[in-house]
């Protein structure tokens, strides 16, 4: 409730709705006139001191009639909503959750129900039951059930396949309880929104009925009959329709806004993200430190890169002072666990930082040109052109509605002025380059017709479309089977030999890094902790974190080992990093010197750097290769 009041639209909608409901309920005390008190002298008066909202053609006070007329209107909608929910929610839940024959039967009935003309049926019911509005409203409630069933069913279907529903089954929870404890709460938001739509529909429906002469018997006021009367005097006094229609519109609008806000709030509680507001990264705000010069001969040079995100209006670093170089024809592995900031570094390079992250300081130099925080057309020319990107999930990176051929042709024509025929030819060449068997057939396929390995090859082919000089691969093999992984690694190595491509591989998998990379840059909690040629790193890491991370790999465990060496604790979240060595709270070798202040990256040997006060002594000579 308190959370609701913090959201301005939700709070406003709630307050207005409450005012309307209370005012209508208290009509006998609040209304300045009797609703039926006619005064023909005052007929069709506009809003004024005596009649705040004016009078109708019989001179009755509009405000009083709106207040009295609200009661039947609101109670009628409440009845319709109740009938629809009581039938629709259990039916949709059963159909979606049980599936099988229950689902088929329900959906057949729903299809029949959707084909029925609601207004006609309600009129028939009214004429059969001698104008009894309550029965007509129940019929209306039933007629609004089918769309609700469809929506609840599809939402329940999605929740049913969640693993926690399986886990509940395994825990011996009976199906009825699973439906009410695990599935129904997840549908709350959907049901709230649907209930508000049903309420709005029934308000409009009763208005329509009143217009046709059903509903409140004159002279009793109701919002519907007032609208009907107002429409008859539309020519003389348009104001009447604004007053009576306005209250209906306002109520419907508030219902919708309130339901939307309530849905957002129920979801926010589970996601733990109260401030799921997208903060666009401000452009050109980065402060560059000029004293860091890009190294000569490097294709890509990152200097002093610091990336921050906004947390409760405070800029919290997720990447801190990262520098790295990649030469043409070189493969560099950016290694780290989740939360190390490795993906943010890679995304900074192509200008695709997400979730409000921004480059706070540092420079990114590509081929001698400063490309830090590049935006707009210049960034687009660079992305996919000179610098290409492959994502982790090959399937998710391909548009499922587009065949491979046109998809790649589009990429080709983004970067080159070629005819459609030339583009097609180039697409086949690209697919061949990515070593896909039978390129003609693959070009005609949709992504879902490809295996995971083939999809990743297509992603590689697309990356090659702009003839890139640098390829950034974010966990390129994490989603693939080992045998397919080996194929993709072989493909990337082959491409590099042919084209002299530079590759930046972002990975948490030491095996992939060892196999593919010349050099590795290890990140921990936003910082580079170690940088070394891969061959020298695997056997003799200098930084304690790298060593422990390598040892934690079960591949290193001898047969019959009873436990793996572990790093105690967890990687600290951004904002909780120690000022001194970020790893010191978890480091078994931490000494007093480690907690004094920030540790710089030491040069410990040729092309080797380590951010550890002990690293000068940490390399054990015995394990040097």
């Amino acid at each position: 409730m308190r959370a609701l009041l913090r959201r301005p639209t939700g709070a406003a909608a709630l307050i207005i709705l409450l005012l309307i409901v209370v005012a209508c309920a208290a009509a006998p005390w609040l209304a300045p006139y009797h609703p039926d008190a006619a005064n023909l002298n005052d007929a069709l008066a506009g809003p004024g001191a005596a009649h705040w909202l004016g009078t109708d053609e019989l001179g009755r006070d509009i405000l009083s009639r709106l207040l009295y007329g609200g009661r039947p209107a609101l109670l009628d909608s409440l009845l319709v909503v109740a009938v629809t929910l009581v039938i629709g929610v259990p039916a949709g839940l059963l159909a979606g959750f049980l599936g099988g024959w229950a689902d088929r039967l329900t959906m057949q009935l729903v299809d029949v129900g959707l084909a029925l003309p609601a207004m006609v049926i309600v009129l028939v019911v009214l004429s059969v039951f001698g104008g009894k509005l309550t029965i007509a409203l129940i019929a209306l409630g039933i007629l609004l059930v089918p769309p609700l069933v469809r929506i609840v069913r599809s939402a329940a279907l999605a929740v049913r396949s969640e693993l926690y529903v399986d886990a509940a089954r395994v825990s011996g929870v009976p199906p009825a309880r699973i439906a009410t404890r695990h599935v129904l709460p997840r549908l709350r938001g959907t049901i709230l929104v649907q209930a508000s739509i049903v309420a709005a529909l029934s308000l409009l429906f009763t208005t329509g009925l009143a217009y046709l002469g059903f509903g409140a018997t004159p002279p009793d006021p109701s919002w519907g009959s007032m609208t009907a009367e107002a429409s008859q005097t539309l020519a003389q006094s348009p104001w009447l329709l604004i007053a009576s229609g306005g209250i209906i519109g306002l109520t419907v609008l508030c219902l919708g806004l309130l339901a939307d806000t309530l849905r957002d709030l129920t979801v926010a509680k589970w996601t733990g993200d109260q401030s799921a507001v997208y903060i666009p990264a401000p452009r050109g705000a980065a402060k560059y430190t000029a004293n860091e010069s890009a190294s000569v001969g490097a294709l890509l040079s990152v200097r002093g890169l610091t990336v921050t995100i906004q947390q409760n209006a405070i800029a919290v670093p997720v990447v801190q002072d990262v520098s790295l170089d990649i030469r043409a024809g070189e493969t560099v592995g950016l290694v780290g666990e989740s939360g190390s900031g490795k993906t943010s570094v890679a995304r900074s390079v192509i200008g695709l930082l997400r979730g409000g992250a921004r480059i706070e300081a540092g420079r990114i130099v590509f081929d001698g040109a400063d490309v830090t925080g590049l935006a707009g057309a210049a960034a687009r020319r660079l992305r996919g052109g000179q610098i290409a990107f492959i994502a982790q999930e090959p399937m998710a990176a391909l548009d499922p509605t587009c065949r491979i051929g046109p998809l790649l042709a589009q990429a080709v024509r983004c970067h080159q002025q070629v005819t459609a025929r030339e583009a097609r030819q180039q697409v086949l060449d690209l697919l061949r380059q990515a070593q896909l068997p039978d390129p003609e057939r693959v070009a005609r396929c949709y992504p879902h017709q490809l295996s995971g390995g083939m999809a990743q090859r297509v992603a590689v082919a697309r990356a090659l479309a702009g003839r890139p000089r640098l390829l950034i691969a974010d966990e390129p093999t994490a989603a693939l089977d080992v045998t397919v992984q080996a194929e993709i690694i072989a493909l990337l190595r082959g491409l590099q030999e042919q084209t002299g491509l530079a590759i930046l591989v972002v990975s948490h998998d030491w095996g992939v890094v060892a196999e593919l990379c010349h050099r590795a840059v290890v990140m921990y909690a936003g910082q580079v902790v170690e940088e070394a040629p891969v061959a020298g790193l695997i056997g003799a890491a200098a930084h304690p974190y790298t060593r422990l991370l390598l040892a934690a790999n079960p591949a290193q465990a001898p047969d019959g080992a009873t436990g793996l060496p572990v790093i105690p604790g967890t990687i600290p979240a951004p904002g909780e990093w120690p000022a001194a060595c970020h790893f010191s709270p978890r480091c078994p070798q931490a000494a007093d010197a480690c907690t004094v202040g920030p540790v710089p990256l030491h040069e410990i040997a040729a092309a080797r750097r380590s951010r550890c006060v002990l690293s000068a002594t940490a390399i054990e000579p015995a394990s040097q290769p």
């Binding site: 395994v170 825990s171 011996g172 695990h182 997840r186 509680k269 089977d481 991370l549």
Partner: protein, 325 residues
Amino acid sequence: MTSAAMNGSQPLLDVQDLTVEYRAGRRRVTAVSGVSLAIAPGETLGVVGESGSGKTTLGRAILGLAPVSGGQISYDGRDITRLRGRARRALAADIQVVFQDPYSSLNPAMTVSATLAESLRARGALPGAEAAQRIRDALEQVALPAAAASRYPAAFSGGQRQRLAIARALMPGPRLVICDEAVTALDVSVQAQILNLLRDLQQRLLLCYLFIGHDLDVVRFMAHRVLVLYRGQVMEHGPASVVARRPRHPYTQALLAAAPGSGARRARPVAPAESPADQPGCPFAPRCPAVTDICRVTPPPLVSAPDGGEVACHRYPELALCRRN
């Protein structure tokens, strides 16, 4: 499978000739085909395979979450293949699961204590104080603070969520826990913590694990014996150190050679993995480097191997001979 590794004791879980078929539109897809396995009390059986090998379906069939179309599953000497309703739910006290995805395996709308309390149901109603004590104990077992009980899953990291999933599995005091890719989604250092936790819990609580995974190294560390699946069929099984170090079947050899960081990737069978699934002979024949004519026609039987377990390969005797010389 009547395994020598059982030491004569009766297996806790005994699966004979299990077949699971799914209906995909009009077609029937066989996910698991004639798989037999047994797990002795306190033992871990590893199941290795790539995506589509049927390893997850195998676990789901044992949990009663997948339709069994042939064969028999016995738990503690009792046939549980087609148990339904109340009788199946009562088994929840004995057979539990830890799923791969720590994000979708916990209900985001329920607090930790509600989730944990729910898995106690199979043991019958408990007084509130006792249930609360059990929840505290379970959280302590997986090294989480007692304060975690009142929070929602969203407040935890991936590794902590997997600890919660393990705590939920332990609540009713099971004897068999099926770990379906339980550490796949985790970082290496977190993975090591969870693997150690699982090993430690096994020793303390005398648990049985069916440990399903795709990473041969992880499964070797966890399991006493390993079963290798390909397209729903058993390729080989045997002691973990044999299967993971000196595999006998060409498919397992290919898996081992393809593992990144295994040094030189020699002799990789890189035939594309697509071929009709319902071909008559060995399912691995289209990709096998040692394939001969008989492999494409006759399915190879499982024959016992001298270094333990069984191998389903027509060419195993010759290949073994070559290797010895």
